[in-house]
Structure formats: structure tokens, C-alpha cells
């Protein structure tokens, strides 16, 4: 279990490298989005490990926030406003 969480953290460090290094702005946005999904996985594994049910609520919340942020930045890049 701890080994799986360490492997997921290694993946989050890969995403952090792309978010710091990435040539264009879309690289940074997709790297932060993928990092949010990796944090969702880590939170689910922690809920399974320590047997706490409300950590799964936190996992769903992180997924929703990551989706909304990515969608808002995508519409901003396309040059439209949010209610368009």
C-alpha cells in the first residue's frame, strides 16, 4: 500500500516537472490537471489504508475542482468568455 502511494507520488513529481518546464501555457494547464487526478488517486488509497470514509468525499471534490479549472482555462485560451 505504501509502495503504491510512493509510486503515485513519483508520477506527481513527473507532472510537476512538466508544469515548471513546459514550453507553452497548455502544457502547464494539462500538467496541473493530471496532478489533480493523481492526488485523487492518493486520497482514495489513503481512505482505503486508514479506513476513513470522508476522504472519499475529498477525492470527488478534488476531481470536480480540477475539471472546472481546466475547462475555464481552455475557454480563456480559445478567446471566449465563460458564459459563451
Amino acid at each position: 500500500m505504501e509502495l503504491l502511494i510512493i509510486l503515485l507520488s513519483l508520477g506527481a513529481f513527473f507532472c510537476l516537472y512538466r508544469a515548471l518546464q513546459g514550453p507553452s501555457i497548455s502544457d502547464r494547464v494539462i500538467a496541473v490537471d493530471i496532478m489533480g487526478i493523481i492526488f485523487t488517486c492518493i486520497t482514495a488509497l489513503m481512505a482505503l489504508r486508514y479506513n476513513i470514509a470522508y476522504l472519499m468525499d475529498l477525492s470527488i471534490t478534488i476531481a470536480i475542482l480540477s475539471f472546472i479549472g481546466t475547462l475555464a482555462l481552455a475557454k480563456y485560451l480559445e478567446g471566449r468568455s465563460l458564459d459563451d
Binding site: L4, L7, L8, L10, G11, A12, F14, C15, Y17, R18, P23, S24, I25, S26, D27, V29, I30, A31, D33, I34, I37, I38, T40, C41, A44, L45, A47, L48, A53, M56, D57, S59, I60, A63, I64, S66, F67, T70, L71, L73, A74, K75, Y76, L77, E78, G79
Partner: protein, 122 residues
């Protein structure tokens, strides 16, 4: 038996997540990176959540894991598609060894392919 199946789902999901993040580092341009990352991470996360559901069964944590898997399966491709369309309209070029760009020819009348490697980094 079902517990062993759940652990297999979780380990395969973690491996898919790790390979998706490795693709985010190693692929040459934005569209390749986005494809590798979103496909691998979507399948890996859904596998992990389904493994948690198999381990915990029909109680609070298992049902929430199933809801999270369905939500990620629905929203992750939508976000990736919106971001790739937005970055095409923003003007980010493809890899310089790409062959053809049908969407750019259809919408803008020209290929959106970089001429040299420096043109991808803007």
C-alpha cells in the same frame, strides 16, 4: 477471491497512472503529451476506483468510489478535448515531423505544423 481481484485492479491502475505521467514527460509536442496523459490516467484512475469498490463492497466508501470513477470517466475526455481545441485556436503548432493537419486546413486554410523545433516552444 474478490479481494485478490480488487488488489489486481488497484496495482494495474497505479501502473497505468505512472505510465501516463511518464508519457507527459517524454513525448515531443503538446498534442501527443495530452493524448498519452489523459488516456492513461483516465483508465488508471477508473481501475483504481473500481478496485477500491471491489475491496469495500456496497457501503459508503465503495459507492463513493464508484461515483468518483463514473465522474472521472465522463469529465476527463471532455476537459482534454476542450483544452486541445482551445490551444489549436490559440495557435500552438504541432511537432515539426508531423505529416498532415486536416483540422487546420478545414478551419484556417493552412497546416498548423511547426517548420523547425524552435517554433514549437512559444
Amino acid at each position: 477471491m474478490i479481494s485478490i481481484l480488487g488488489w489486481i485492479f488497484i496495482v494495474v491502475g497505479v501502473i497505468f497512472d505512472l505510465l501516463g505521467c511518464l508519457g507527459l514527460v517524454r513525448f515531443p509536442d503538446l498534442y501527443n503529451r495530452m493524448q498519452a496523459a489523459t488516456k492513461g490516467v483516465t483508465l488508471g484512475t477508473c481501475g483504481l476506483m473500481f478496485g477500491v469498490f471491489l475491496l469495500k463492497g456496497f457501503n459508503v466508501m465503495g459507492i463513493k468510489a464508484l461515483i468518483c470513477a463514473c465522474f472521472i470517466l465522463l469529465t476527463m475526455p471532455v476537459a482534454a478535448h476542450a483544452l486541445s481545441r482551445g490551444s489549436l485556436h490559440f495557435g500552438i503548432k504541432m511537432w515539426h515531423k508531423s505529416i498532415i493537419d486536416k483540422y487546420g486546413q478545414d478551419k484556417f486554410g493552412k497546416n498548423l505544423i511547426a517548420d523547425n523545433p524552435d517554433e514549437e516552444k512559444q
